[in-house]
Symmetry: C2
Subunit: 411 residues, 2 copies
């Protein structure tokens, strides 16, 4: 890919994605394989006026070596400095920006003892919860973007050489993120306005539940949390700065009520969990809880996911994505949630976003619980949308309003 295109992408990430403001501290999480892109974002953030930029490199190959070699008790421990390496920079709302660069090998931990993988990654999730919660409540601006790394690119474009696979993945990413348009910033502004129109409409209806029906057997009623808010494409931090939490982003999403989900749902795409694949998930819900779950492939992994904590069996998000989304139309399976979740309607097992409850960012946990917002150390988006899916909004008055027909918005 041309350097100028990649530089434009880094600039977009920093300026419109994270929307770095003068005097802010920027924390970048970056896979070691794409350190050059982390540096590019750092340089751009300084140009945007950042006070300081801190890059935390992560190395999945090293993590794999540790999972296989370390004492099991050591895997359970995450020392205090790990959380402090984020929180030491937080000086209140508006002080910070989080940029996460995602380039994971989808099957990096394949073949490693599942318990060791789970223990290691869960310990980290638990340790970093306070930091993740800051992002989930939009107390910091945040933006997740992807750049190709070889193992990932070769999974997406199997059989290609490293160089060819990376080039193809760049093209796919640039299409998915509108970077190939003449004016990406303007395209994103239009996109955000369109999403906002639907969001306002949905927030104005008095919805009791969304009813999803698919030709694959999905028949799920997702009750919404009290005072739910739909959100999508563009977010606003508690410090008052707008940002794009995900690039790309084709979804409009809100909070299910953790205790009011009923029925059966089937996954429509493979899912990467703990560096391994899960395929063909079926889940049956009663009173919000997934009482039966199974998978055609990766069942043991799915069981681990469900065992993370009690909240792992409840839903934290329901997201609406039309079958005509550019990511689905590309026909590419990315094996990366940042992209795949924008190819289909999805539900997330695990924690919900306080921002999807009216005034939720300012609510103590007990109040969010009372509204029905789910809590967990996990947040795993499972794609359930199909090109034939119909969705109705069941209003509190009893009326059913068509929202999706045959996979497309009809609102």
């Amino acid at each position: 890919m041309e350097k100028s295109m990649i530089e434009r992408y880094a600039r977009f990430t920093v300026r419109m994605g994270a929307n770095v403001q003068k005097g802010q501290t920027v924390l970048i999480s970056c896979p070691i394989d794409v350190a050059w892109f982390g540096r590019m974002c750092a340089a751009e953030a300084y140009l945007a006026g950042a006070r300081d930029v801190v890059v935390h490199y992560n190395d999945q190959q090293l993590t794999r070596i540790r999972m296989e070699g370390a004492d099991i008790e050591a895997l359970k421990e995450v020392k205090p400095w790990v959380l402090a390496s984020y929180m030491d920079y937080y000086e209140g709302d508006g002080s910070m920006v989080r940029i996460a660069i995602s380039a994971e090998d989808p099957e990096i931990y394949k073949g490693v003892d599942l318990d060791r993988v789970d223990i290691t990654l869960r310990a980290r999730s638990i340790a970093l919860k306070p930091w993740i919660e800051l992002a989930m409540a939009n107390r910091v601006q945040w933006c997740i973007v992807s750049v190709p790394a070889v193992p990932w690119a070769q999974k997406v474009f199997a059989g290609e050489t490293a160089d060819a696979a990376v080039e193809k993945l760049w093209e796919a990413i640039f299409t998915a993120t509108r970077m190939d348009m003449p004016d990406p910033e303007a395209a994103w502004r239009d996109h955000a306005v369109n999403a906002r129109r639907r969001i306002d409409r949905l927030n104005g209806m008095d919805i009791d539940a969304l009813h999803l029906r698919g030709e694959n057997g999905t028949d799920l009623k997702v009750g919404l949390a009290d005072d739910y808010l739909f959100e999508g494409v563009e977010s606003v931090s508690t410090g008052g700065v707008s940002f794009l939490a995900n690039v790309p982003s084709e979804e409009v999403f809100t909070a299910p009520h953790k205790d009011r989900v009923e029925g059966i749902v089937k996954s429509s795409m493979p899912y990467v969990y703990n560096g391994n694949l899960i395929e063909g998930i079926t889940a049956r819900f009663e009173k919000g809880r997934a009482v039966e779950v199974s998978a055609e492939k990766g069942g043991a992994l799915l069981d681990q996911m469900m065992a993370a904590d009690e909240g792992a069996r409840h839903l934290g998000e329901i997201a609406l994505v039309p079958a005509s989304s550019p990511i689905r139309k590309s026909g590419i399976l990315f094996y990366n949630t940042l992209f795949d979740e924008n190819a289909a309607c999805h539900i997330a097992f695990g924690s919900g976003y306080p921002t999807t409850i009216k005034n939720g960012s300012d609510m103590p946990r007990e109040e969010l619980d009372a509204k029905g917002l789910n809590e967990s150390v996990i947040h795993e988006d499972i794609m359930v949308g199909t090109p034939e899916m119909d969705i109705d909004a069941l209003l509190k008055g009893g009326e059913a309003v068509p929202v999706f027909r045959k996979g497309e918005w009809v609102l």
Copy 2:
């Protein structure tokens, strides 16, 4: 370089260099450009029984971007997590091992505002002092080794292609570290025994000062600290485990008395400080203090070094290295202290090693001060030895015992 040779080197680093014991935690500092070697050492440490291995990656290119872009006040700050990322693992003597991989570009910060470089690096040195002191007192086993990175290799072998320069630097490193011998472990054991013989001899003499005279104008009397101990090649941790602090190591060294150095000394090799070169240093000492310093090149840098703190103008180490050392004989200027300090006798400005005072590791700071051990945030080894250098040990009784003649041991 053949993979099997490099694996042997990683094994040597972990097993004989750091001498990792079952149940210990190993902390590896690794430049991002040679992450693959960090991983190799991590895997080897687990095979040796390490409980856990933590790799801290550093990225000089990123640091340079930060020096140029960050707010000056941000450069002065080092958040608490940075020190904690080391100290969180220290659970008393014998619990930990430090492996540092050195592959710096000698002129990485060339062209950056000198004050910004100095502020950034000094803030880090001050913040990490408690951790560095653990190593200097041998409370942890520690081992510094090098592997080639392209910018460094091309500085050492100017005009070569990246691949050729790296290959030549591997060969030079393997010669310098005895890795090219049939049995490197045996060669190091012999080498340690030889050094020990000289160390015992020097420790048995009642030395008041070492008198260095070179054909280049050096004429320096280095008074030794009270209860000085010579040390070299092999060290023993306070936890009772032997290790090689430097690989390679050709020096026998001890502690000067911080207030008893007199005369003039000239540097005999270029020195890398703060990612820049200093050449042609002259220093004149009175009562232990460098009262006049100058350099033919990099004078402003040298002034910064001297301004680090009061201890920066006093000596913390005097080290004896024969002109016949394999590193000098190679004729290669490495632009890396780990190698260059083993090519010539040297003095270090800045802090001294508590281990070079009898029972020093257990002494509180005031007692070490009283013995004459210097303290500073810096420790910078300046090469002063020449092939014509004579060194006498001036005994307390008044006798002068020849130690070096024409650059070689005569003891």
